[in-house]
């Protein structure tokens, strides 16, 4: 390396979107929280997400399915706050890979817990909702990997982002609309996610991009 001039660097293909923010699947509220409070809080994003997840786990362990609606609402608000701020804290390049898996673990656990507060009868509906959401979260990855694009804006708006989803799920619980509400959400989102993905492939543009990596699963070598 040394004092010699660095080599010329050229953008050979149109810039691929940074994957981590795409995988996070933030909604408008989370992004607003990140913009407003992220620069102030400054904690590493994975740590903030762990703080949200820990509060959730504590509530599940202590209160379980008997937690009162008020406490549950406070826990969900805390989760939205911590994970939302994490979208805007100064980036830590070495550990930012930990954000998407921690966020999915937190979001899905919260959705399951909200179903648990309704009662065991809501678990099948929770499974259906998670199944629909996994389609989106894998599609975010695979579309970016294989075509270098993200889903259409309307479908991302409809999905709400993890933040609005958690809030809507809690409102459904409070309104006594579970488990039917989860089934309806699973149906609407599932049709939208799959339909938009298929439409995206039909209208595919022919962009040549290099293969990023061949192995389906990174097994930690």
């Amino acid at each position: 390396m040394s004092a010699q001039a660095p080599a010329l660097r050229v953008a050979v293909v149109p810039a691929r979107p940074d994957p981590i923010p795409v995988y996070r699947d933030d909604g408008p509220l989370a992004l607003a929280l990140g913009r407003a409070l992220g620069p102030v809080v400054k904690l590493p994003a994975p740590l903030l997400i762990v703080l949200g997840l820990l509060a959730l786990v504590a509530a599940i362990v202590i209160g379980g399915p008997d937690t009162s609606l008020g406490v549950a609402g406070a826990v969900i608000a805390w989760v939205v706050l911590t994970l939302g701020i994490a979208s805007g804290t100064p980036p830590r390049p070495r550990i930012r890979w930990a954000e998407p898996p921690l966020m999915r673990a937190t979001e899905y656990t919260a959705l399951i817990w909200i179903a648990a507060l309704e009662g065991p009868d809501a678990y099948p509906a929770a499974f259906a909702l998670l199944a629909a959401l996994t389609f989106r979260h894998y599609d975010l990855v695979y579309r970016l990997r294989h075509r270098g694009v993200v889903p259409a804006r309307w479908v991302s708006r409809l999905s709400g982002g993890w933040d609005l989803r958690l809030i809507v799920a809690f409102v459904l619980l409070a309104a006594g609309a579970l488990p039917a509400g989860y089934f309806v959400a699973a149906g609407v989102l599932g049709v939208a996610f799959v339909g938009e993905a298929v439409y995206g492939w039909l209208a595919v543009g022919r962009v040549q991009r290099p293969l990023e990596y061949e192995d389906e699963e990174d097994e930690g070598q």
Binding site: M1, A7, P19, W97, R104, P120, Y123, P124, A197, P210
Partner: protein, 597 residues
């Protein structure tokens, strides 16, 4: 009389012939460098091959792959011979006489700036290889800009280092690779988007190749010493005869050289070989262009020859031997074996791939496409889920068998795609999405079945889908950020002979020399844990155990089938959560350590 008909003759003796290549290439022209000398001083590309020459065979192979044009660059002394050799060729060939490497580079720069759709390939004109090996590079749309890569122990090649499917460093006569992982087998494909960079690199290299900087000359001398030592060692060690002298460099360049190259005596034959290698080395336009593109920061992928044949004959005897060796190879079998993914888990490698490749061959000869097989696979997966949902013992057993069938067909589609070289982005997306679909359908089926048995497990099913999705997200995110680190790493300028890793290693050595009394600085704890972790990989079987702990897809499907068939859906989910949880702790610990070192 073409090389292609030779290949067909060979294949017809075999049980089955390789599938026809479908689709064309996006390559507008191949530049063949017929500039390397053979041992007798003639052109290596003009060595005899059956009724023609190696160059003629290559031109025919390229035409068979659908490339519209070949440009042969040769030295003025060989021009008339090249013309005579290619006279009967029906392919569109242009022949350019060029006096030196700088002139070769100028021709490449002009071609790169020329009109036309598609990329360019720059390759040695004296390579003997299977058409399918070339197809792997030229006809695979997933490799935009890339090289043919393969074993380090080949004759007359320069080495490369690659990480995550990307060339991070390449050697040339004047450039060294620190810790090489593979070798550049003389074919460089440049996508249209990188042609501008190719032209710029070629023009930048011209004055340097005409008048090599001191660091380059030094590196060439170092290589001569290394080649001399490796020839010497090969002569000493009879077992090392397979090491094809002339290519071998010591694996770790950091190790002190115990012998002084200047004092080593070689046999007459080896001495002649070394003289030839040293004389021919600077005449390597392709390797220089590759180093130039790597140093420019271009994303360069790889297509491995795997078990397909590849050699660069130096004499008529070498060529005759190659003719004999390539005739002995069952090309179809080799191609089929090469279609099996290298990095699969234990269950997939030992319990599925051994037979799924023959299903892939059957499907290829029936004309099935990979996407059709993928669709069949998800359909079988759906049937498995329905069988699980009955909640009856026969249903669980049927479901277990169907799930294994779905997994086998899933392996078949990838092998079929690689075997017939039909790659598509839609296919890759479908394959990935349907894999997840099958797995989570099985979860749903098992949970419904458990409810039928009055033992509801929906909560466990929810937990299992959460754990597996989070584990996958970690794989994707970690891989993605590692890619970004690679893309952002700054390459040293082309004038520098060492790559960044080599320069860093040298800097470390120099600090030790400067302060001999100081003990070398201790590595941080995470780095020490990781190196210890890699050391135990040398124990036989440990690598497979580590792969199994990570709970890859083959193991997961086997665990689902086995537990569901023998016990209940509840057992299945408990095993999935326990094994998956262990895998999560194991892989996340490794990743955290690697992020902190």
């Amino acid at each position: 009389m073409s090389g292609l008909s030779d290949t067909r003759t060979v294949a017809s003796a075999a049980p089955a012939s390789p599938p026809a290549l479908r689709g064309g290439t996006s390559v507008r022209a191949v530049v063949l460098l017929a500039t390397a000398p053979a041992a007798d001083g003639g052109s290596a590309a003009l060595l005899p091959w059956e009724n023609e020459t190696i160059l003629g065979r290559l031109v025919d192979q390229i035409a068979a792959l659908g490339v519209p044009r070949a440009v042969v660059i040769t030295r003025p002394a060989w021009e008339s011979d090249v013309r005579a050799a290619l006279e009967q060729s029906r392919a569109a060939v242009a022949i350019e006489a060029s006096a030196s490497v700088p002139d070769d580079l100028h021709i490449v720069a002009q071609l790169a700036g020329g009109e036309g759709d598609g990329g360019l390939v720059v390759m040695y004109g004296d390579v003997v290889t299977h058409t399918q090996a070339l197809a792997g590079l030229l006809a695979d749309p997933r490799v935009a800009t890339g090289i043919l890569a393969g074993g380090k122990r080949k004759q007359m090649v320069f080495r490369i280092a690659a990480r995550r499917g990307r060339v991070t460093s390449a050697a040339s006569p004047y450039h060294a690779v620190h810790r090489p992982t593979s070798a550049f087998l003389g074919a460089l494909k440049v996508a249209p988007t990188d042609l501008e960079a190719l032209g710029r690199v070629a023009e930048r290299l011209r004055p340097l190749a005409a008048n090599p900087p001191a660091a380059w000359e030094e590196e060439l001398q170092r290589k001569e010493g290394m080649w001399r030592l490796s020839l010497y060692r090969a002569a000493l060690d009879e077992e090392e005869l397979t090491a094809e002298p002339g290519a071998a460099e010591p694996p770790a360049e950091e190790e002190p050289v115990p012998l002084d190259p200047a004092t080593v005596e070689l046999s007459g034959e080896d001495e002649a070989h070394l003289r030839h290698r040293v004389a021919a080395a600077p005449d390597d336009t392709a390797a220089l262009l590759l180093v130039g593109l790597v140093r420019e920061g271009a994303h360069i992928g790889m297509s491995y020859v795997r078990r397909l044949y590849w050699t660069r004959p130096l004499s008529s005897d070498d060529a005759a031997l190659a003719e004999q060796e390539i005739a002995e190879i069952d090309e179809d079998r080799v191609l089929l074996d090469s279609a099996v993914k290298g990095a699969d888990g234990f269950f997939t490698t030992f319990f599925v791939s051994p037979y799924s490749r023959f299903i892939a061959r059957w499907a290829a000869h029936r004309g099935f496409t990979p996407n059709q097989v993928t669709t069949v696979s998800v359909f079988i997966g759906l049937l498995a889920a329905i069988a699980f949902a009955t909640g009856e013992r026969w249903g669980l057993i049927t479901g277990a068998v169907l799930l294994q069938a779905a997994f086998t067909t899933d392996c078949v589609d990838g092998q079929l795609a690689r075997y017939t070289r039909q790659f598509s982005k839609l296919g890759a997306w479908l394959d990935s999405v349907f894999d997840r679909t099958k797995e989570y359908l099985a979860f749903a089926g098992l949970a419904i079945g458990a409810s039928q048995m009055d033992d509801p497990v929906w909560l466990l099913a929810c937990a299992a889908i959460t754990l597996q999705t989070a584990r996958h997200m970690s794989d994707f995110s970690f891989g993605g950020t590692q890619q970004q680190v690679l893309a952002a790493s700054v390459q040293p300028p082309i004038e520098q002979a060492r790559d960044s890793a080599g320069a860093a290693a040298e800097a470390r050595r120099n600090t030790v020399v400067d302060e001999p009394d100081q003990p070398p600085p201790r590595k941080p704890l995470p780095a020490r844990v990781l190196s210890a972790w890699h050391v135990i990989d040398r124990v036989p079987g440990v690598r497979w155990v580590k792969k199994m702990i990570a709970f890859p897809i083959g193991e997961r499907f086997a665990a689902i089938s086995l537990t569901a068939a023998l016990w209940t859906p509840r057992t299945t989910f408990i095993v999935l959560l326990a094994w998956g949880g262990l895998a999560a702790v194991y892989t996340q610990t490794g990743r955290v350590l690697r992020s902190l070192r």
